[in-house]
Assembly symmetry: C2
Homo-oligomer: 452 residues x 2
């Protein structure tokens, strides 16, 4: 039997649900959705037309609503939240993890938000309000509060007896946190250490020195880097007085990494990292038009530069025909450097101390590629047009522009990073403007000097 | 005291090492590197000029060489491996995880590879050869073999006594695997279940039904999706007869996710996902030139299309000036759609059953944006050039091209995916060719009809 991939299985599930939905077999859809993990249901919602989502949502078992909301992409979730009444939402909220619930509440309008909070029981409300008191993208904002704490002076045997009485551990528990009487964090003891230790061993001797506490205000990307650096599965979060507040688990870190990477890729096309694939047409049009508007301005700038050379363009139509070549190659070469540097910034490869090495390298690469393509294109043009001078002009422009592209590809993202603008978002547009303007100036300017 | 971010700390470390290296203080560099986690050392190597890397490598404590190799990006690692003699490499290999070691060995030339293998002790060699027998990008290729297995019919007490005797668990152990006498996988029991169970409980009653075994030949991206879907921290790997082979832990999954995301972003600029930021100039030039060559061909195609309209271009210089505008806007709009669809494919949002909805949506978005920018640009041009007809011509071309861009932005990646070509790699170049050709044809063609 040939096996099929996860992705093919996803599409089969999607197709089954769509077909059943299309033929109005709601009971069947409900049954299909009942046996699916929340992750798969979220995927189906994200892969559906916004109109179908509302219907599907009603057919999902109410007990699963919370988990599905947790898995959904932000924009799709917002759309669904709009259709849920606040009382209903408070019910859904009960089953959710504190960190995910806080994330959901942040996206709600103030009035709804207050209504949901007041409908919750006071213990849950307290925990959510604590999470909401931290910035969204910090350790405090993404932590959970379900930690197990133990005292340093008890024995392993005492802990084991306590755990057997308790009978169940919070999800994804791989260590317990040792605290003093005032809840100050002392250290972490792994489950593995407790399970392999002799019963009479004192807990304080088992503390794992590799696990450090994270400050609640640390940014989430710093949190992700610490997890990767130390191969943590979970880590404790403390306030600035060293008191234990909660813990972050690696599944949250995976979300951060995935979202960061998506945001970079989408930003480079002027899109929102969490954009809904099947967003309504009007909404998509509006979101895209900002970026198109910015591009129009830069394109008009290129037009303005060209128009300065109207004289030479009207004399020699071949210049008009070739005018796009140099800017195009410059744009591609510059974008390669830009992309490399944006990744390097994200990975932490470039800083003040080695930026110069990178500029020198990319300048050399741009120059060398400039020479290669200048020679090639000069040959093509000289033979095609039987005009050696024209070949020389375009070769010079190509060399200029690819060299400029190399410098701009490094300098622009580093500069944007320094003034706290996301290089992935604004870099490409600025770069293209530069390679367009330099390319046209170099080509038509040199042509004016040597061909007329 | 103002706190500094992880990234700033990284740069400070990098700067310290660079300064010490630059002034020849090798003993100091050695000392700095001694106190750093392998992750930080790898980051410093990746952030350094290739020439400095060889020097730094010599200054790293030999005991850390294996761990640092594990953390390094593939291209940088290859560069360093070239400088290590095979006997040395066999020593380094001893401390490495099987999955990482297999990855390293795969990148070596055959002769070196054999030499390293034969220098290893027979047990290690056996484990590595087992890992190497699976394809690189499959569950078998990324698994580790350090599992703890238990029998279904023993009690918790027996397991606990065994573990206390053992005294230590493999890194990142969160569950034990229950197997029969022939090593067939029966199920997983979490550490949490054992630690909270009464001593007399039989292991088979504690089996966690949420943890399924992964087939060794499953692709690594499918593995990553299963981990995300079920929130696993680790999962057992079995062969096609159901025998336990090893396990995959979530830190490997994070690497897969990060590498996949990086590959997508880098591919869109025609770069290798694992490209070395500080690669030597000649190597970089060579790597970039392929993509520039492809772009040159598509740019020459656009030139060829323009040259078909030499007559009208030589009559009206304004057409030459405006000729880049429509292709530019089409390229940007098309790339937005393309990026959205590439992400949608990666997330599993699009399949045969909903591709049509997406095409219809993007067609509508393209058309609508076409109308908006057509009207705007027509106004600008008509006023600037006092030529209503010219405004009409460019408006029509803009509308055509943005609509074509919307269709192409969906159709190209879906088609490439179907014929098993990475849409992130080839999509952008094909799309730009289409928006260039359609844009020029629509603009200059209509201009020929109505303006001459």
């Amino acid at each position: 039997m040939p096996e099929i991939s996860e992705q093919q299985q996803n599409h089969q599930r999607l197709q089954q649900v769509n077909q059943a939905l299309g033929s109005g077999m709601f009971v069947h859809v409900r049954k299909l959705l009942q046996n699916m993990p929340a992750y798969d249901i979220a995927l189906i919602l994200e892969s559906s037309h916004p109109k179908s989502r509302a219907v599907l949502w009603q057919l999902i078992d109410a007990d699963n609503h919370g988990e599905v909301l947790e898995e959904l992409n932000e924009e799709v979730r917002k759309g669904i939240l709009k259709t849920i009444r606040p009382e209903k939402l408070a019910e859904v909220a009960e089953g959710m993890d504190v960190d995910d619930l806080a994330e959901v509440l942040r996206t709600l309008p103030d009035s709804v938000y207050q209504e949901v909070l007041s409908a919750m029981d006071s213990q849950d409300r307290g925990r959510v309000e604590a999470a909401l008191s931290f910035e969204e993208d910090t350790a405090g904002g993404i932590m959970n509060t379900d930690t197990i704490t133990i005292r340093p002076d008890v024995t392993v045997d005492v802990v084991l007896r306590y755990l057997r009485l308790r009978g169940d551990l919070p999800e994804a528990t791989d260590s317990f946190y040792v605290v003093d009487g005032k809840n100050h964090f002392i250290g972490a003891v792994s489950l593995a250490a407790i399970i392999t230790a002799k019963p009479e061993v004192i807990i304080s001797t088992l503390i794992d020195k590799d696990i450090e506490a994270i400050q609640a205000h640390l940014s989430e990307s710093d949190v992700a880097q610490l997890f990767e650096k130390f191969d943590w599965f979970s880590a404790p979060v403390i306030d600035d007085k060293g008191r234990l507040l909660g813990r972050i688990t690696i599944d949250d870190v995976i979300d951060i990494i995935r979202e960061d990477a998506e945001r970079s890729m989408m930003s480079m096309a002027g899109l929102d990292g969490e954009a809904d694939t099947f967003a309504p047409v009007l909404k998509s049009t509006q979101q895209r038009s900002i970026w198109l508007g910015v591009n129009l301005i830069t394109a008009l700038l290129a037009v303005a530069v060209s128009s300065m050379f109207e004289g030479v363009l009207s004399q020699l139509a071949i210049l008009a025909i070739l005018n796009s070549l140099v800017p195009s190659m410059g744009g591609v070469a510059g974008n390669q450097t830009l992309t490399l540097v944006i990744r390097a910034i994200a990975l932490g490869h470039v800083g003040d101390s080695n930026a110069r090495i990178l500029i020198q390298k990319e300048l050399a690469v741009g120059f060398l590629n400039g020479v290669i393509w200048a020679v090639l294109i000069a040959g093509v043009v000289a033979i095609w047009q039987q005009n050696l001078m024209l070949g020389g002009v375009i070769a010079f422009a190509m060399l200029m522009n690819l060299t400029a592209a190399g410098i701009a590809g490094v300098a622009i993202p580093l500069f944007l990073k320094r003034i706290n603008i996301d290089p992935a978002l604004a870099g490409s547009v600025i770069l293209t403007t530069i390679t367009d303007v330099v390319g046209i100036f170099a080509f038509l300017g040199t042509a004016t000097l040597f061909l007329t």
